[in-house]
């Protein structure tokens, strides 16, 4: 198993399947009278959030607490970061407090990578979203949700629609789903596809309608207005007519297909309220599954031997 979770691409197929299988077992913890396991007792997990987040932070916090870890929440607002403290000094502070894992969300792509490789912190680093780069635990929970509805993902067709350019979710999903053997199609206006998308393991299309008939999964992405400092499409109305998922389009999907959205949704923009609340939509389930998947990641990264070298020595002996 890897030591940090920075990118979906770091996972081998075996690692990814191990995380999903572990999450499957941990899902039942939520339905027990005592929703807690003693596994990470005495470990400290720091949620280091430089960007706003509701579901990811709460989800990581719930996951760590269900494993009995101590959780320290750190948000940049109201901390010394607003006084100009650097990432390095923040990291050294956390190290001095004895963080066993740092869950980091940062507006700059690569911040988790810097944290993991600069030897400021000994603990495991988990990327909870960095800029428009990656969000691997979201991809894992999406894959987990798909697997629960569709079984093995090998050969399944997943259509990801919308603002791919600004989406870390799209990139992490494209990488992870291809590791798991699914065929991914990205649908977006030409202005919202990133440069270099031809090197991703995906197909691309500018037309939503043609990509619906055979899709097993349709994942709608949020139009990230806060990251757009340019006109990427003529008007919201035109975007929504060409790339929004409404009831008419949903009817074109095969009977078993599911509709996903990583949240937060812009109802009426990329997805209509009817579709978001329909029986096909698994959006609320994605949130439930997120806790189990994050428990699996924390367990697998943290529960083993604290001293990696001694573990290797033991295995060789």
């Amino acid at each position: 198993m890897i030591r940090h979770l920075l990118s979906s691409a770091d996972l081998s197929k075996d690692d990814a399947v191990l995380i999903l299988d572990t999450a499957e077992e941990l899902l039942s913890v939520a339905s027990r009278p005592i929703k807690k396991l003693p596994t990470l007792r005495g470990r400290t997990v720091v949620n280091l959030f430089f960007e706003d987040s509701t579901r990811t932070r709460i989800s990581f916090e719930a996951a760590a607490k269900r494993l009995s870890a101590d959780v320290i929440n750190f948000s940049a607002k109201g901390s010394s970061v607003s006084k100009g403290e650097s990432l390095k000094d923040t990291a050294l502070t956390l190290q001095a407090m004895g963080a066993d894992a740092v869950v980091i969300r940062h507006g700059s792509s690569g911040a988790p990578h810097r944290l993991a490789h600069a030897s400021w912190i000994n603990g495991a680093i988990i990327n909870a979203g960095d800029g428009s780069h990656e969000h691997p635990t979201q991809a894992l929970l999406d894959a987990f949700t798909m697997r629960r509805h569709l079984g093995d993902l090998d050969g399944r067709r997943v259509t990801i629609v919308g603002d791919v350019l600004h989406s870390r979710v799209a990139r992490s999903n494209a990488l992870l789903l291809s590791i798991l053997g699914a065929d991914v199609t990205l649908v977006a206006p030409p202005t919202l596809l990133p440069v270099g998308v031809d090197s991703w393991p995906v197909q691309t299309s500018y037309e939503l309608d043609g990509a619906l008939d055979k899709a097993d999964v349709v994942m709608m992405l949020r139009v990230q207005g806060e990251r757009m400092n340019d006109a990427f499409f003529p008007s919201a109305r035109e975007y929504s007519r060409r790339y929004g998922l409404d009831t008419r389009r949903m009817r074109r999907l095969p009977e078993h297909a599911i509709v996903m959205h990583p949240g937060p949704m812009n109802r009426g923009m990329e997805i209509t309220a009817d579709v978001a609340d329909s029986a096909r939509s698994v959006i609320v389930e994605q949130v439930t599954n997120g806790v189990a998947v994050r428990m699996a990641v924390l367990y697998l990264l943290l529960s083993g031997s604290t001293d990696a070298e001694s573990t290797e020595a033991q295995e060789e002996a």
Binding site: M1, E25, L37, P38, T39, Y299
Partner: protein, 189 residues
């Protein structure tokens, strides 16, 4: 072990129970469980993965035959409750399946080998988080001694005095293709 000299690292393997022995032991344990609990009412068999689960299913099948009702065994994974998690790399979880509410039932834990007792300690903790059984009993195919905790088995297939350098290897047909219990000497795992 007197059969081999101590300077020889070569492994010695002895079969101590064969298929017939295991079958007879399980049949006896079935009857002992029924006798102790005056029937199967309120009794829930929970196997500890992996081999304990298969043994629990066999006990359940025998019990169903004797009682004339369908009895389902469950499984209880104790990985998250182990006290040696920090000593080894993280392990995959096994399946936990509790077929009925355990509150106010007699839970019979089933495992293949009872050794230090640490697995059973973990299982008792796991049970406590799931509910409050009326009583917990323990059935094992082999008790090899060397307990590190004050735990004993209620139903034992065979008491097997062993040395700490030996390993006890239980094979069940469902996983290993054949039923037997072997003692494997030093140097062969």
């Amino acid at each position: 072990m007197s059969s081999h000299t101590s300077d020889s690292p070569r492994a010695t393997t002895r079969t101590v129970l064969d298929e017939g022995d295991i079958s007879r032991a399980l049949t006896r344990i079935t009857h002992e469980i029924l006798e102790r609990n005056r029937g199967s009412a309120g009794v829930l068999l929970l196997g500890i993965p992996t081999r304990g689960v298969h043994l629990a299913r066999r006990l359940a099948a025998r019990m169903s035959e004797v009682e004339g009702t369908t009895i389902t065994a469950g499984s209880l994974d104790v990985t998250m409750y182990r006290d040696d998690l920090r000593l080894r790399p993280a392990r995959a979880l096994e399946h936990t399946d509790i077929p009925v509410d355990i509150d106010d039932r007699v839970v019979v834990l089933v495992d293949d080998v009872l050794f230090s007792g640490r697995t059973i300690r973990a299982a008792l903790d796991a049970l406590g988080d799931i509910g409050r059984p009326r009583a917990v009993q323990l059935a094992v195919l082999v008790d090899r001694g060397h307990r590190a905790l004050p735990i004993r088995a209620d139903f034992v297939g065979k008491n097997l005095p062993t040395s700490l350098v030996e390993n006890v290897k239980v094979s069940v047909a469902e996983v290993d293709g054949a039923d037997d219990v072997r003692i494997v000497g030093e140097g062969d795992a």
